[in-house]
């Protein structure tokens, strides 16, 4: 082992004399240690995910013991109506959360700088609260709210219906809409922060030029501002969808009867005993997420290349992680 680095050092022409070469050897060793650590971390990050996928092809009954390969658990997962229903629910919740959060968050970000100072300060403060408060607290608080709200609302509905002679009123209770409502609270805050960060980095001269050229405010918004905000809006939408699609804890509190989302279903399956079916579902989710990520990455990349921009050192257009959200104020 140790003879190899020595021989490579000797092979190189030593330019700077003895001391310099010594430093370079040390430098090369430091390099090696860093690279080794990096490789170890990548293994640490990817081996567990790889194992989930490998065990999904297990022919045996138990996840931990690999007994030949088969696709039986995929067949079983894809024929499982509960799993498919949960997937449908998750997609619905994720879609509506992303749509509502992106729309409202962007609207608020566009208008907030024109609002009176107290309104702006309060809105900012509430946004920060929505972001830093743990998901579990949002889950509890919204659950309590929903329970009380429905307990108050339903008698009134009943009263209204009977007084209008419509018979029995529909009973409003928890369901997918309550999950969407809670998810929007914090995803909207994230979109708001992202879009505002992008807005503050935008060239005001363009908006002024547009106004000087007699564009209506609406037209300026559509043709100048929104196109420039597109990366932030897309990143916000993607983040919102991912958070919503991935959320377990909030959904577990405010879910309606018999309408689990996919994380609720998966968690339930894990609790009932781990079979490779869970792995099959997990692998399918991974496949979908990674494909979506790759597509988004390529789209963003093409866009940034089209606008003849060399990819930044810090790729601010690539929606990287929630870290982007929380660090986007850096710029």
């Amino acid at each position: 082992m140790s003879s190899q680095p020595g021989s490579t050092t000797a092979g190189r022409p030593a330019r700077g004399g003895g001391a310099r070469t010594g430093l370079d050897v040390a430098g090369r060793w430091v390099d090696r240690i860093f690279r080794g650590e990096a490789i170890a971390i990548y293994i640490f990050l990817y081996v567990p995910i790889a194992l989930v996928v490998i065990f999904s092809f297990n022919a045996g009954e138990r996840t931990g013991e690999l007994r030949g390969l088969s696709l039986r658990w995929y067949q079983k997962a894809l024929a499982d109506d509960f799993a498919l229903g949960a997937l449908r629910n998750s997609l619905l919740v994720g879609f509506w959360t992303a749509l509502i959060a992106t729309t409202l968050g962007t609207m608020a970000a566009l208008a907030v700088n024109r609002a009176a100072r107290p309104i702006r300060v309060v809105l900012e403060a509430v946004t920060y609260v929505a972001i830093i408060i743990p998901g579990i607290v949002i889950a509890i608080a919204t659950l309590i709210f929903y329970v009380n709200f429905f307990a108050w609302l339903n008698p009134w509905l009943q009263y209204a219906w009977t007084s209008m002679g419509l018979g029995t009123a529909p009973v409003i209770q928890s369901g997918l809409h309550t999950i969407i409502g809670a998810h929007v609270v914090f995803t909207m805050a994230i979109v708001f922060v992202l879009v505002r960060a992008r807005l503050s980095g935008m060239d005001r001269a363009l908006v002024e030029a547009s106004a000087d050229l007699y564009a209506t405010p609406w037209r300026t918004l559509r043709q100048v501002t929104l196109p420039q905000l597109r990366p932030a809006i897309l990143a916000g939408a993607l983040l919102s969808f991912t958070f919503s699609f991935d959320d377990y804890i909030i959904a577990s509190f405010v879910q309606g009867p018999g309408q689990p989302t996919l994380p609720l279903f998966v968690f339930g399956s894990i609790r009932r005993g781990i079979t490779p079916q869970v792995n099959a579902i997990a692998s399918l989710i991974l496949l979908v997420t990674l494909t979506a990520l790759a597509v988004v990455y390529l789209v963003f990349r093409r866009q940034s290349q089209q606008s003849s921009r060399v990819p930044d050192e810090v790729p601010d257009d690539v929606p990287d992680s929630p870290a982007v959200v929380l660090t986007s104020g850096h710029r």
């Binding site: 990817y46 995910i49 138990r62 566009l110 309590i144 609270v185 989710i285 810090v314």
Partner: protein
């Protein structure tokens, strides 16, 4: 001319104000209804009493807060494991971020994306992956075959710690990478030219200048871990539990809503202290310029 222009101008301003209001109203309403009001109710509940069949009964008592020490294990678990997990993420993440920012060459964007990709995959699945690895047929069986005797990994603080580092490492690496990337490399050259050894350059130049990134990373990781539920639930198996697990227990099992509310307020309180500390440290001197939570 002026007579015509002025009312038009005013009309425009009114229209603008109306537009601003219309744009802000939905968001404000949503926040108010589903965040401000619920948190208010939480506060009211926390001084209430438990109804006989569970739930909430009106009242005013501080007994719920006085009873918080009965769940002190949850709080100390959370604090210690969150702090330990954060430090571990930092120790593991800093060298990686350093490597990516200074030595990875043209591949660094790709390698950074590779760190962040797992963060976009399902949190639940990532935690579940460790359930098999640490479970009795996983690493413990392997160790036993190698002659290490019987080892239990699952349902220990170590398992929870591994889960935490695994899930939160990307969140730590990202801000570290950003601050290391922005570091003016000429300063390192200068330090080297002035005869400073590697370690000294790191200690006196690199580390102080990337402290804002360290701080951001620490906060980004620490705060969400405080509210963690899934990792202790799956990898701690009821033996290592966080405030989040105690909360779920109080609300969904024992249905003691007032006590649960008091615990939730306690959790919010700790998170706010962490944020306040962060802002305070951050506002000291130059550090402030470069960081902000959001």
């Amino acid at each position: 001319m002026t007579n015509v222009a002025r009312p038009r101008h005013q009309a425009g301003r009114w229209r603008q104000r109306a537009a601003t209001a219309v744009f802000l109203l939905p968001t404000s309403f949503w926040y108010f209804l589903l965040l401000v009001v619920p948190l208010g109710i939480l506060l009211v509940f926390s001084v209430g009493e438990r109804a006989p069949q569970g739930g909430y009964a009106p009242g005013f008592t501080l007994a719920n807060f006085a009873h918080l020490p009965t769940r002190s294990v949850a709080f100390t678990n959370t604090l210690f494991l969150a702090a330990g997990g954060t430090v571990l993420c930092l120790l593991v993440g800093y060298p990686l971020a350093y490597y990516l920012a200074t030595r990875a060459g043209s591949k660094k964007t790709f390698l950074l994306v590779l760190v962040i990709v797992p963060f976009w995959t399902s949190f639940l699945i990532r935690t579940y992956a460790w359930l098999t690895i640490l479970g009795s047929t996983g690493v413990p069986a392997l160790l036993e075959n190698l002659g290490f005797g019987k080892v239990v990994l699952l349902n220990t603080p170590l398992a929870v710690m591994i889960g935490i580092v695994y899930n939160y490492l990307p969140l730590m690496v990202f801000p570290l990478y950003v601050s290391l990337e922005r570091l003016d490399k000429r300063l390192l050259e200068a330090s080297k030219d002035l005869g400073a050894a590697r370690w000294r350059t790191f200690r006196q130049v690199t580390l102080p200048l990337t402290l804002p990134g360290v701080l951001s990373g620490v906060v980004l990781v620490f705060i969400p871990i405080m509210g963690e539920y899934l990792i202790p639930a799956l990898l701690g198996g009821g033996r290592v539990f966080f405030v989040g697990n105690a909360l779920v227990d109080a609300f969904l099992q024992s249905r003691n809503w007032p006590f649960g509310s008091a615990m939730a307020i306690g959790l919010i309180f700790i998170v706010l202290i962490a944020v306040a500390l962060y802002l305070r440290v951050g506002s000291r001197g130059q550090v402030r310029r470069d960081i902000s939570l959001v």
